[in-house]
């Protein structure tokens, strides 16, 4: 849903109007029916009708999800008012789930997901179909490794690498950008040429070039991804700094005889930091995709450490008969990227003054 379409206020819930109790009960009814129906359809699609053709089960599950979404949407609007953004809060919840399960992966009861030597003589079948009520809820791969466990450990790698990369990018790119935007002149021109040169490489090609010379450890991967993000941060910080440096409070501070260091650290950085941070979610999403693309090409983090990219790459050989190998990690990845984009768009709306003006 785009940010600029204002959700239409529901009848009976416009501020100041008296709520008709009958319609309230009616709406609650509708929410309850939607919740129960949605959960029932999802449960039936995912767990019960195991002997029905997979296509019908997918349709049933998706239908249940849509029903559940609308029920949650109207339920949320009843409780928190007509401006409640269901999609946004679902996205926040999803990011929290992925983040927490990645953080506590070691304490969660997954079947073996990483060590292929442990499953080789085990009794877990290979290429097992997903069955939510079994020990391998999302099935197993060619080496009988648990797919769900792999997804969670993959989330850990993805999030660690891309959050670290964004942190490096913010610190390095932000510093360079603020300095260039404040001092201007030759320094600014030089930084501009370097930024242009970094942006002259198509993003994935730059990553390939870096991957050709680096050890493929998570730390190096984070550095390579940071290089990808730094030009964006330099530009953002530079432009924001230039805008704020013209403002009255900077002039006032200068008139009172503040040193340049004080102006940068006390006046500019606090103002520039927020719009830069507001881009962090979206850039994390971009970097997750970049890391996964590199892993998919076999140039990122290698097996046995599972990542979303290398799981999908390994699954593509026989995914015509075992589509869960590709689509289970794929859907989780899509939802994560989608949720981060959604949260990031809201963050920009709230914290980036340039965005708010538009």
């Amino acid at each position: 849903m785009p940010a600029d379409t204002v959700p239409a206020p529901d009848a009976g819930y416009v501020a100041g109007m008296v709520v008709d109790p009958l319609s309230h009960a009616h709406r609650l009814m509708r929410v309850a029916v939607g919740l129960i129906g949605g959960v029932a359809a999802i449960a039936a699609g995912l767990m019960m009708l195991t002997d029905v053709h997979a296509g019908y089960r997918v349709v049933l599950t998706v239908g249940g999800l849509v029903l559940l979404y609308f029920a949650l949407d109207s339920g949320g609007k009843i409780v928190w008012g007509p401006l409640f953004e269901t999609g946004l809060w679902l996205s926040v919840a999803w990011v929290a789930i992925v983040g927490l399960s990645a953080a506590f992966a070691d304490f969660l009861p997954f079947a073996e997901a990483r060590d292929a030597s442990a499953t080789i003589f085990g009794d877990t079948p290979t290429l097992k179909r997903p069955d939510l009520l079994s020990a391998n809820p999302l099935g197993t791969d060619r080496q009988a490794l648990d797919v769900l466990g792999g997804i969670v450990y993959g989330a850990r790698v993805s999030l660690q690498v891309s959050v670290l990369a964004v942190a490096i990018g913010i610190i390095a790119g932000g510093t360079i950008g603020v300095v260039a935007g404040f001092f201007r002149g030759k320094l600014d021109t030089g930084v501009g040429v370097i930024v242009d040169s970094l942006l002259a490489f198509p993003p994935l090609i730059l990553l390939l070039a870096l991957a050709s010379v680096m050890d493929r450890s998570p730390r190096n991967m984070a550095i390579a991804l940071a290089v990808l993000g730094i030009p964006t941060y330099i530009r953002l910080a530079r432009v924001s700094t230039m805008v704020f440096a013209e403002r009255e409070f900077v002039l006032a501070s200068r008139a009172m005889g503040a040193s340049r260091r004080r102006i940068i650290f006390r006046e500019l950085v606090p103002n520039v930091a927020l719009p830069i941070f507001s881009y962090a979610f979206i850039i994390i999403a971009v970097l997750i995709v970049a890391e996964a693309s590199l892993s998919f090409l076999g140039l990122g983090i290698q097996r046995p450490d599972p990542t979303w990219g290398n799981m999908i790459a390994a699954g593509q050989d026989d995914f015509d008969r075992h589509p869960h190998l590709v689509f289970a990690p794929g859907i989780v990845m899509f939802l994560t990227v989608f949720a981060l984009n959604r949260v990031g768009e809201k963050a920009r709306e709230l914290w980036d003054p340039r965005q708010a003006k538009l």
């Binding site: 849903m1 785009p2 379409t5 296509g55 040429v193 370097i194 242009d196 040169s197 002259a200 490489f201 198509p202 993003p203 994935l204 090609i205 730059l206 390939l208 070039a209 870096l210 991957a211 050709s212 010379v213 680096m214 050890d215 999403a285 995709v289 996964a292 693309s293 998919f296 090409l297 076999g298 140039l299 990219g309 999908i312 593509q316 995914f319 015509d320 589509p323 590709v326 794929g330 990845m333 899509f334 990227v337 989608f338 984009n341 959604r342």
Partner: protein, 373 residues
């Protein structure tokens, strides 16, 4: 005007120098001895010397760069280290057209789909069509291209019944809707109703024809444009890769054009065109498109970089013999640096020059910019 173009061209030079310098110095980043990393366990001293000479590692950094660049300007990209005797320049000549065809087809497809949808969404801002297309676009942006590629393979290659009968259902529904609206349009005159009935018949006919002759797409492989199998085979093998790389761009272009178009449609001259009774298609295509397309064109340059990156991915999925395949399989995986360096340099140079050209064409499109600066 000429001066402005000249200035822009001059600004490209330092960027190109830094790009080539960075590519040339890439090898300095290798941890340990790069030559040992290439020859591995089996090489002997003569291999070592050959590769050292080939890479110019026996010279200092500066003269190596000058030699390398001098050779490249003369069209000599050296030989593949892992396959002595194979000229890198020949490999580039074989693979570059494949990558460019995919990227170009992707760009054309993206524009063909995104421009009408985006324009119509702007014209109908706030309606169900607008909200649906914007929502779908937001979703598509979040699909990584390798996942989109595999999804397309799953649907169009393995289970082609899904899109085939999906298209049949959608087409018939559309045609029924047209018939239904023809009934309503009767009060506007028989001609209006007749047009809709005719449209319904055409849509139904096309749908049935398409379902009958549903094309099958290959899982992998590529038929060259110049091969004996003909142009149609070439397009058939390039279609799924092209639509894969186009997907993200469709969504990005659509959102951008919708925003700009919506602003343009607020202008007075659009109002006067509407007041004169111009049909919406004419207003959108003739009056509103050009002034709304400036940021789209700028973005198209950036998008081409993403497209080239995207082709690396689809070349891996669909096993296409393009530059991404060359860089990844012949270059990075075997540590063949001349291949990586040449491939990266060619793609980056192409990208820089393209963006420079777009920058220049921009001022042709927007008369207000011609006198600026």
């Amino acid at each position: 005007m000429l001066r402005a173009i000249g200035l822009k061209l001059v600004r490209l030079v330092p960027v190109l120098i830094i790009v080539s310098l960075a590519t040339s110095l890439l090898i300095e980043l290798v941890p340990g001895d790069p030559i040992l990393a290439i020859i591995g366990m089996e090489g002997d001293a003569s291999d070592y010397e050959r590769i050292e000479r080939e890479l110019g590692l026996d010279q200092n950094v500066f003269s190596r760069y000058v030699d390398w660049l001098g050779n490249i300007v003369q069209g000599d990209f050296g030989e593949q280290i892992t396959r002595p005797g194979v000229k890198v320049a020949d490999r580039l000549r074989q693979t570059f057209p494949v990558t460019m065809q995919i990227a170009l087809m992707g760009m054309v497809l993206a524009l063909l789909i995104s421009v009408p949808v985006g324009a119509w969404a702007a014209y109908r801002a706030g309606t169900r069509f607008d909200r649906l297309s914007s929502g779908v676009a937001f979703g598509i942006i979040s699909i990584p291209s390798f996942l989109a590629g595999l999804l397309l393979v799953f649907m169009f290659v393995f289970h082609s019944a899904i899109p085939r009968y999906g298209a049949l259902g959608l087409g018939l529904a559309w045609s029924l809707w047209l018939l239904w609206s023809a009934g309503r349009a009767r009060r506007d005159g028989a001609k209006q109703a007749l047009i809709r009935v005719a449209a319904a018949v055409v849509v139904a006919g096309l749908t049935v024809w398409l379902t009958n002759r549903w094309p099958s797409f290959p899982r992998q492989g590529f038929v060259r444009w110049t091969s004996d199998d003909g142009r149609l085979e070439n397009l058939r093998s390039a279609f799924l890769p092209a639509i894969t790389v186009a997907l993200t761009e469709i969504a990005v272009f659509m959102r951008l054009l919708r925003g700009d178009m919506q602003a343009t449609l607020q202008e007075d001259y659009i109002l006067s065109a509407r007041a004169k009774g111009m049909p919406p298609v004419r207003i959108l295509a003739r009056d509103a498109l050009r002034p709304s397309s400036f940021s789209l064109i700028t973005l198209a340059g950036v998008a081409f970089g993403r497209l080239i990156g995207g082709t690396v991915i689809v070349e891996a999925i669909f096993r296409l013999p393009g530059m991404g395949d060359l860089i990844v399989n012949d270059g990075v995986n075997t540590g063949d640096f001349p291949v990586v360096q040449s491939g990266v340099l060619i793609l980056a140079t192409f990208y820089v020059v393209l963006n420079g050209a777009i920058d220049i064409s921009y001022s042709y499109l927007d008369p207000r910019l011609r006198r600026a600066r």
